[in-house]
Symmetry: C2
Subunit: 129 residues, 2 copies
DNA sequence: TTTTTTCGACTACCACGGTAGTTTTCGCCG
DNA sequence: CGGCGAAAACTACCGTGGTAGTCGAAAAAA
């Protein structure tokens, strides 16, 4: 029993739900229509499968099903990023950033911004405490 | 036809091949035996499938097949990381690092080290030029 | 009330990662 | 030369993401 590993469509659907909080099959279909030319039934099927896996919750309003995300964005991001870090970088997040730098995806300005962000985060964390 | 998206076992196999340059089925099997208790045939099947997808190359030495990686580590890392960044962070690598910081996976010391690394990389790049 | 539209439910496929058993091949040793 | 043993080849199966058609029920329209 390996992990479910959400695919592209599932992620796209969740993205829609994260933005709208609630949506019907038609809503999701319409939102994704531009990027992917999928049939409505495809979205419906996917939503049903995702409901089975408890990724989304479904509520009935009359004869229409209304879906909402049951996992939150941060949790999904954390899980997927953590997964990648575990798979490729032996669980060391720094190694991932090293990779990004070596590939030229981050420049000095970006790092400086990150530095500020760390400072800010530290402050917020102590404020909460 | 979506992308193949290498799985855990495939990655583990590639890891072995990246370290040894060349390996037989038995070699790979032995290397992975500790972590995963897989049958030799499983490794063999996976290697054959990977050969079909041109992830590895196969060379015959008498009766034995010798495999070597046909994709390089950096390329795979780049591809998988790029994929994740595209999927989750709208193609912006900085957003990924922001996430890491917000999750507390990177502290100030780590950032300072990254800064040094950027400096070094910039130097190396100009040296090559 | 009858017809048409709209939804969801069910079913069916395909590709592919992962896992392994069965069969065939082939070189080597006695 | 013949049989043994190891390696490769073939086959099979499951779960799941992705894609969509069909069908039936129910609501809306005529």
């Amino acid at each position: 029993m390996a992990r479910p590993r959400l695919g592209d469509l599932q992620l796209a659907i969740l993205e829609v739900l994260w933005e709208r909080a609630e949506a019907t099959v038609a809503d999701v279909h319409e939102s994704l229509l531009v990027d992917r030319g999928l049939a409505t039934t495809t979205i419906a099927t996917m939503l049903r499968k995702m409901e089975e896996r408890h990724l989304v919750a479904q509520r009935r309003d009359g004869r229409v099903l209304i879906y909402r995300a049951r996992v939150e964005r941060d949790a999904v991001h954390r899980s997927l990023v953590g997964d990648l870090v575990a798979r490729l970088f032996d669980g060391d997040p720094k190694a991932l950033v090293h990779h990004l730098i070596d590939e030229g995806d981050l420049d000095a300005a970006a790092i400086d911004e990150l530095r500020r962000r760390v400072q800010k985060r530290r402050k917020e964390a102590s404020d909460v405490r």
